[in-house]
Assembly symmetry: C2
């Protein structure tokens, strides 16, 4: 039961240890998904997402900047990365712009991780 599939006689010239596995993610899907994960693969962006998720749709850039030792353009850049990847939506409210988390995307990512757990 703990033996490798190659313990079976090989007929082809090219060895095939476990020929039964097939990619479920095609290249395009995997690339898209990688871009999505990349957007939250930065400590500052994770913390920004953390902050925004607590704000009930009422968090502006200046609320965020206050928590970091980074310049305004850098925070603006990170917000853009999160927005472009679909993690947040931003809406102008007079002078400031309020941000909120896109719950659907986070939920979809949880589904992907779940698939990798089950193997099916």
């Amino acid at each position: 039961m703990n033996k490798h599939i190659l313990d079976v006689p090989i007929l082809t010239t090219r060895t095939a240890c476990n020929p039964s596995i097939r990619p479920r993610l095609n290249t395009d899907e995997a690339s898209q998904m990688a871009l999505t994960f990349k957007a939250i693969s930065h400590p500052v962006r994770l913390q920004i997402l953390d902050l925004i998720s607590q704000g009930d749709g009422l968090v502006c850039g200046c609320d965020i900047e206050r928590h970091f030792d980074l310049t305004q353009p850098t925070i603006s850049h990170h917000l853009k990365v999160l927005r472009d990847a679909g993690f947040i939506t931003s809406e102008a409210q007079g002078v400031w712009i309020s941000h909120k988390v896109n719950v659907e995307l986070l939920n979809a990512l949880r589904g992907v991780l779940s698939m990798m757990e089950n193997g099916c």
Copy 2:
């Protein structure tokens, strides 16, 4: 109800739009988590993880290489990244090394995403 918290009189010199939000992730936690997400922020590594998750602990490197147009050292590198981040464990089984997915880590990541959804 849809008004910003700054609609309240300001007493300090520095404006505070939404002073109530606080980071729940400290810098170390966020950095660690970012490294973890970074490991799956690459299309090839996502596809490798996908393949390994289907193999029931019986997938070797050669099973993986076959699915990509990449050299063996490159696949070996990606496997190392996944292993170092804790996504897979690898066990020598004679000539080959069989890989399996670390379900606990995937589950923990789902918990993080869940926290970002709820805001609590």
